[in-house]
């Protein structure tokens, strides 16, 4: 049994999806497209049914990819749960009528029922059922109200006969239904609405945006450090460290294997052992920030804040050939470039995708990298950290502006819904965060372990000397860095955070370290990001993007050397 959850964007579909499904949710690409959808299981009539969360669409016109996918998934569905927003009945009914014309068993979840009451929207559910000929269940996805009734009503619904209508005829029918079932009371502006307006008006919105971002990062950094110092470091230094050393030493008292596994020295960052640094960097230095970052991001998404930020950023982003919503890949990329890169597909045109992906690869350091850059440079003073980020921001604007002028193609006009502020559903926030964290653990940790192993092998085999001899002069002549820094650049291809960590023992000055961190951030994304970039852009555009990366890192390196050293 395949059950489809369909509806407009921003109607609380994912909260209902979380309510209906268990923990086993898989999100993947719809075959042959870059549109993502999620799938879970729910108990249904004594057995198990597959519940598919179809990407939100306003209609089934099939003019954009998402609508084509929705159309396609619709063909496979055996029962449709159409989630509609009770506060926006008229608009939502358009998709409902289109769905009804497919004559499949269907049921309506009249969601946001509580909001509708607060807004003075009164809907006669009984009458609406009569008009549509199918069950209508008022629900509140966030609290779970009405979910039980929804599940009970699902098996009872039957398909209704429905004539195919034209667009104009549908709107006429909707007009008749709405005037019959809906009554509006005029209510005064609530505090929530005032806040909604304040956060989108430029005068108040920009200060609010800066405050939200500053607060988010302040919280993530501080809470992260607290968790690391109070919880994770003690585990690593007091329990795991002694245990793993003892275990390894029992089998390999000394020699190459001992060195590869444990590295040299007691320090978990600098020892560069597979079982010490290889586990400490991803699990202790990065994971706490990843969890916190994605929790905050999910809350910003689900509360409805991001579209407001996108609206405020739209003017600026248009100058670099992008929409305000293109700020989303950049923000996601601050967590990890891979999901950021994946999210460039929300952009409409090839030009936009290319610019957003290239900017992300060059100018947006991931959380792992941010954590290590700030951790390393803050020891010398905040101005070194500021130099790195000011350089990245300047690059973002310069490259974006240049690309928007030279890349052919149009940037279509923005049109975007801004949902009202809503209390995020903790269940779906938790689920979303967990899925992203799981992705980080399964994707990133093996790369770090492999990366550290590779570093050790280059040292043990003596390959390091050859590499330094060939590429070292480039580092010292062009960028004024020690020749050994070249190895960090190579490792940076695998994991940027490990690479920045490798810079620490090279005995550089603060300015050299600043320059090295900047180049590491700019020159190339990590291999995982690069693979996704390739998948999203194709060979030709990937090569173009790579050329831009090389030019950017050479220019930045030489310029910074001239200015700083």
């Amino acid at each position: 049994m395949k059950i489809l959850l369909m509806g407009n964007p921003n109607v609380g579909k994912s909260a209902i999806f979380s309510r209906l499904t268990g923990v086993h949710v898989v999100c993947s690409n719809y075959p042959g497209t870059t549109v993502t959808y999620c799938e879970g299981k729910m108990p249904y009539l004594g057995s198990e049914a597959k519940l598919m969360d179809v990407p939100g669409t306003y209609s089934l016109n099939a003019t954009v990819k998402v609508e084509q996918v929705a159309n396609d998934m619709l063909q496979q569905g055996e029962l449709i749960v159409n989630v509609i927003d009770a506060t926006n009945l008229e608009r939502n009914l358009y998709l409902t009528l289109e769905l009804l014309e497919h004559e499949k068993p269907m049921i309506i979840a009249l969601n946001m029922w509580d909001d509708a009451r607060h807004l003075g929207v009164n809907i006669d559910v009984e009458k609406l059922q009569q008009h549509l000929g199918i069950p209508v269940i008022p629900t509140v996805g966030v609290t779970g109200e009405g979910i039980k009734e929804l599940v009970e009503a699902m098996p009872k619904t039957k398909p209704v006969k429905k004539k195919k209508l034209t667009e104009a005829e549908r709107w006429i029918e909707i007009g008749e239904i709405v005037s019959d079932v809906q009554q509006l009371e005029y209510l005064h502006h609530t505090l929530k609405e005032k806040l909604e307006d304040a956060s989108i008006l430029p005068k108040t919105g920009i200060p609010i945006a800066l405050a939200v971002l500053a607060l988010s990062f302040f919280f993530i950094i501080n809470a992260g450090n607290f968790i690391i110092e109070e919880l994770i470091d003690p585990i690593f230094y007091d329990y795991y460290g002694p245990f793993i050393r003892e275990t390894v030493e029992r089998f390999f008292p000394a020699g190459t294997v001992h060195e590869i596994l444990l590295g040299t020295g007691e320090d978990f960052v600098e020892s560069l052992g597979v079982l010490t640094t290889g586990l400490y960097v991803p699990l202790a230095m990065v994971l706490p920030f990843v969890i916190l970052f994605y929790t905050v991001l999910s809350l910003l998404e689900d509360s409805g804040y991001l579209p407001r930020l996108a609206t405020l950023m739209d003017t600026l982003m248009h100058r670099i050939g992008l929409h305000g919503s293109a700020i989303v890949p950049s923000i996601l990329g601050l967590g990890c470039n891979v999901p950021g890169m994946l999210s460039t597909r929300i952009l409409e045109s090839d030009k936009q995708r290319f610019i957003a992906a290239t900017l992300l690869a060059i100018c947006i350091p991931c959380l792992a990298q941010n954590a290590i850059i700030t951790g390393l440079l803050l020891n010398y003073g905040i101005r070194y950290v500021a130099i790195v980020y000011a350089t990245l921001l300047t690059l973002y604007i310069t490259i974006g502006f240049t690309l928007s002028k030279i890349i052919p193609g149009e940037t279509p006009e923005t049109i975007m819904e801004v949902p009202p502020y809503r209390m995020p559903s903790l269940k779906s926030t938790f689920k979303k965060t967990w899925m992203r964290v799981k992705y980080f653990i399964t994707e990133a940790v093996p790369y770090v372990l492999g990366g550290v192993l590779l570093i050790n092998l280059t040292y043990v085999s003596g390959l390091i000397n050859h590499i330094s001899r060939i590429f070292g002069p480039i580092m010292s002549k062009l960028f004024g860095l020690p020749e050994e820094a070249v190895l960090a650049l190579i490792i940076g291809f695998i994991r940027k955070d490990v690479a920045v960590g490798m810079l620490a023992p090279l005995g550089m000055t603060a300015m050299q370290l600043t320059l090295a961190c900047t180049i590491l951030a700019v020159y190339f994304p990590c291999i995982a990001t690069y693979v996704v970039l390739f998948k999203e852009l194709g060979l030709r555009d990937t090569l173009k993007s790579t050329a831009i990366m090389m030019i950017a890192s050479l220019t930045v390196g030489i310029l910074l050397k001239t200015i700083l050293l």
Partner: protein, 74 residues
């Protein structure tokens, strides 16, 4: 007749006519903005930025170029 970008912040108007391709027009309608809809301008982003409007309970951010093609009557 005025188009959407002529309206000031806080002003209300009725949508009289949509211009542009059929796809674009039906997209706007399905997002809640159609002929006869009453809208209020919530914000005008500076430097030629988008216009934010509210119609019924839907808030939309509409780029300036698109706003030029939405004709309204005060």
């Amino acid at each position: 007749m005025d188009n959407l970008s002529d309206l000031k912040k806080g002003e209300s108007a009725i949508v009289h006519k949509l211009e542009g391709g059929e796809c674009m027009k039906s997209q706007l309608r399905s997002m809640g903005l159609k002929e006869g809809s009453k809208l209020t301008v919530i914000a005008r982003e500076p430097l030629g930025g988008p216009i934010v409007i509210k119609t019924h309970n839907t808030t939309l951010t509409i780029g300036r170029g698109r706003a030029h093609k939405i004709f309204v009557k005060k």
